[in-house]
Amino acid sequence: MLAPSLFLFAQGAQPPGVSDAMKKLAGWLVVLGDPNQTSELWFGSTLTWIKVLALLSLVGWLGARFAQGIKDRTALSNKFLDIAASVGLIGLFGTSLLNVLQSTKRVNNIDISGVPLTAILGLVFGVMVFVWVEFGLWKAIGGTGRKSDRWVLAGIHLAAIFGVGAAWILQGVTASMLGTERQGGLPFLLLIGARLAPTFMGFVVLFQLTMLFLSEFVAVRPRRLYAIAWQTWVESFRRMQAFWVVMIIFVVVLAFTHWFLRPSDDRVAEIGRQYVGTLSTLCWILLISMITILTPISLPNDIRGMTIYSVVSKPVRRLELIWGRLLGFMALSTLIVVIFGGISLTYLWRNVYLGAIVQTEEAAKKARDQNRLPAAKQLSDQASQLRTRMSARVPVKGSLTFLDSRGTPQFKGIDVGQELEYRSFVEGATPSAAIWLFGDSIPDPYEPTKKRISRKIPVEDFLKANTIESIQDQIVNLKFADARAAGVDPTKASGKEIDKAVNNASKNKQEIDRLTKEYENLNKQAVVFEEQATKLDADQKPAEALRARRDAAKFHSPRVPLEMTFTVYRTTKGRVVGEPVFAELEVTNPFTGEKYNNIIPIREYYTNKELIPAKLLAGSNGALRIVVRCISPTQYLGMAESDLYLLSSSGNFGWNFVKGLLCIWLQAMVLTAIGVFAGTFLSWPVALLTTLAFGVAGVAAFGFLQQFAVTNMAGGGPFESLIRLIAHDNLMNELTPTLSVVAAKTLDSLIMPVMTRLVYIVPNFSALDVSNTVALGYAVTTPILLGNIGLAFAYVLPFTVTGFFILKSREVAA
């Protein structure tokens, strides 16, 4: 109930009876306060980032002050309050136990004059703990804190009040929107307040930290950064011998790789992918292992060996100690990546390009010369597959608009009210549809009547020269030019009218005739093979039939790959989990009217691939119209503009490989930041383990962890899952509320809120990893690259700055 109403504001819905200003205010309060909502404008993700930082700062700040208070014996000094707080904590645990018992129907719901007992108990025990926390904080900060800390503490309280005020406004707006009284009373108000206030409180802390950081930042000097970086660099070489170790392992493994990855004759086409994949993985593993070992031990060693004394007694800023190290390690990573990249590219050039592609092509040519046509065909196929993999295919994207369930054009599809969903939906078995337009001049979906934009398909990248389709394309284009010259609009006129116009206009006639002859010639040859194939099929000779088909295909351009990734929103559960929802795909060439239809089972989280006949592009002038409908009744398909695209095969592989290496470099940078950060407060073995844990969590478990943060996991939290695991229970069954189940659910309800927040600090290495994209021959596009760079810095900055605050507040000589 809470979430959808908040969502409504974020979406900018039009509640009746609420003034525009009020609505805007409510919207902003939600966008700024709720960590799970964000603006759809360009700064949306940055805003989320800031909100997460604010929340983490708040937790860190409170935790640090409180720990300080306990260490200085200023907190925990009041026996009475300490006992009250312990009672409060136990009481809170009991309350959530009661809550679980009630929700599993083991205990009847108890209300006291209309308010649930659990709410009242929660409030009372909460206040007991709250008073203790307040007391501890004021004492800790009153005792040793600086003046700015007192300001922040006051600011936090103001922000908390502001948060409740915001909740009050939202409650009011919701009420007048629904035309009812304020709902839920005080508990509900506190509930919304509890969701918004921490963010606002966090902003206060974040502001103080930002100010402190900036005053440090302006004092940073390049020469000192350089000095620290230089020292780190030399240490890695002379003390750790890291560079040499890594290089030797690389060369040794490469020698073995060469030995293992001999191209076997039947899977020659795979060799490119294997080599590229192996090389990037090798580079990744070596670099990441080196960083994991090297970075977390650097600062602890410096502190333990007391070499840091003579450094920090110079005018070095603490931030410089961290950033300087980061730079030094990144210089080392850069050197290693450059060397790895150079060796890898040379290796790929020799083994895949010269070794596999060129050789296969030569073998094909030889076979052709010796008139062994089937073998020639097979070889040249292999060569072309190899070439595809050793390229950087680029997605060609169109512009998306929708038809709603009544068939009316809309800018957005249907909103199914899911939070965090940027896709909009088409409803099954209705006229509702998603339409992607490609072309030189198509209506801008934002302002369809006023503006036009270009989403032209680079046809020449798709149609192979001297194939039936490319000749077709030329003929159509010439005919259209003639028709236009004769004053006939080729897109509206019938074929006969066009032909008449073309025959009358003599300009391109000769050329058209020549091309037509060539076209017919090629077509005849292709048809011969196709007929042969049909006959061979009938004779039960599938292998030969296949070969004949391949021969026929040689006269055609390859089919155009189309990829789609849709989400599914089910209003009724399918019989089986993961049962596909069906989509109808219709591709039209708007100029020639050529059409292609198919029905595809859509699987969630899959990239659905479809191959479109190349002839659809002939005479298209780079324009296509692709319509997707959902044909499974009562189900919805969710899609956004970038979810459907054609794949063109242009793009330089070498450059793409370098971009892949850059992304490995970015991962190394993030891990370096974490390693150095861990070293600011942990001894080296613990720092090493911490860095390792971050790395493993980010690489292996990020998707899983993210689910904690976003949705409730199927099968409950960690403790409930454990019980299911032990009991071999299905994820979907509601567990019988035995004692252990109740206990597990209670623990989960206490732990989940913490877990979901902690997930944010685990870096998403899988998002930064593009090695598979490169190995499969897809281009790492500029938006992906920029996004990854942004993401990497979004991790590096907070980790290094936190490291700075820790280093600043600790005694390096204790």
């Binding site: 020469r223 030399v234 002379r238 007391m306 070499t307 004394y309 003579s310 920090v312 110079k314 000589a813």
Partner: protein, 311 residues
């Protein structure tokens, strides 16, 4: 605060705590000190008396449990003050994988010094502390005394106004000690302020203008060395070539006045003797001084001498 006061501590107190915040050692108790411009100030005390703790507190490497410390009138956590400070840690903890030149350039880069000026200073300091012959060797190959020397050089790379030296002579041979003492006096003559700590009384006595004596973290004595060491009720007369007849006349006069007295030949310190031997043998190489009353094992002395010279 007058600009003449370089260091001031007020009620400076340090309690070392364990991980849980339980107090472990009270290393410094309510120290009140002022160090003035241009003096050599000695922190004297036995091991574990809180000298190093005091210096670390002054540099902001440790945070005071109570009280305040100011350098140049600024609080100690202010990093910018380090521009004008040189510090030699108790042991020269330097990066062992750098050579002497690299070390000095590294520390020099942390200050705002032009490259030309830095190169000049590095050369001069290496010369001054006497390790020119080993300047391209990594510090891991250095002896303790050599490390001490390069440590001193790095403390002077920024031509500091205030120099904090924690046991500067520990690990040095007597020649090195004497050289360092000379150097410290030179620096004072250039108008620099120097704070040094130590437990070797003789060393401190020679060079310090004022000393503070710490014991178990408490300040026991503070004042001018000459004042502290003067024994007011004893008078000493030193002469050379005093003949027996003159001596008996003096005795006679003293006896007549009823003064209690002792007469003997002064002894020299072993340090002074050692220095004299080295100096003499430098002037007359090859000549062995046979002095059974001084050294029972001349060969040992020779070894020490040889190694001292090679440094």
């Amino acid at each position: 605060m007058s600009s003449d006061v370089i260091i001031e501590t007020r009620n400076l107190t340090k309690v070392y705590r364990d991980f849980w915040g339980r107090p472990k050692v009270q290393a410094l108790k309510a120290l009140d000190l002022k160090v003035h411009r241009g003096e050599i100030f000695g922190l004297l005390g036995p091991n574990g008396s809180g000298k190093t703790t005091t210096i670390k507190l002054l540099l902001g490497l440790l945070f005071p449990t109570e009280g305040d410390a100011f350098i140049f009138g600024e609080p100690t956590f202010n990093v910018a003050k380090n521009e004008r400070i040189g510090y030699l840690p108790e042991e020269s903890y330097l990066y062992k994988f750098l050579n002497a030149e690299e070390t000095l350039h590294f520390y020099g880069r942390l200050f705002k010094i032009s490259k030309a000026e830095r190169t000049k200073r590095v050369g001069r300091l290496i010369e001054m502390v006497g390790i020119s012959h080993a300047k391209h060797r990594q510090l891991r190959e250095y002896s303790k005394g050599m490390q001490r020397r390069i440590g001193l050089a790095q403390a002077l790379i920024n031509n500091p106004e205030l120099i904090l030296l924690d046991e500067p002579t520990s690990g040095l041979d007597p020649i090195g000690t004497a050289e360092i003492k000379e150097l410290i006096k030179d620096l004072r003559d250039q108008g620099k302020t120097i704070v040094l700590s130590g437990h070797l009384l003789a060393d401190m006595q020679d060079i310090c203008d004022r000393i503070a004596i710490l014991h178990r973290g408490e300040l026991r004595e503070l004042g001018k060395v000459s004042d502290l060491l003067t024994v007011q009720d004893v008078t000493q007369i030193k002469t050379t070539d005093l003949s027996e007849s003159v001596l008996s006349e003096v005795r006679h006069v003293l006896d007549r006045n009823g003064v209690k007295y002792e007469v003997d030949h002064p002894t020299t310190t072993l340090e002074e003797l050692f220095l004299r031997i080295v100096r003499e043998s430098d002037q007359h190489p090859g000549r062995r001084r046979v002095a059974a009353d001084i050294a029972s094992k001349p060969s040992v002395a020779d070894d020490e001498l040889a190694s001292a010279r090679s440094k």
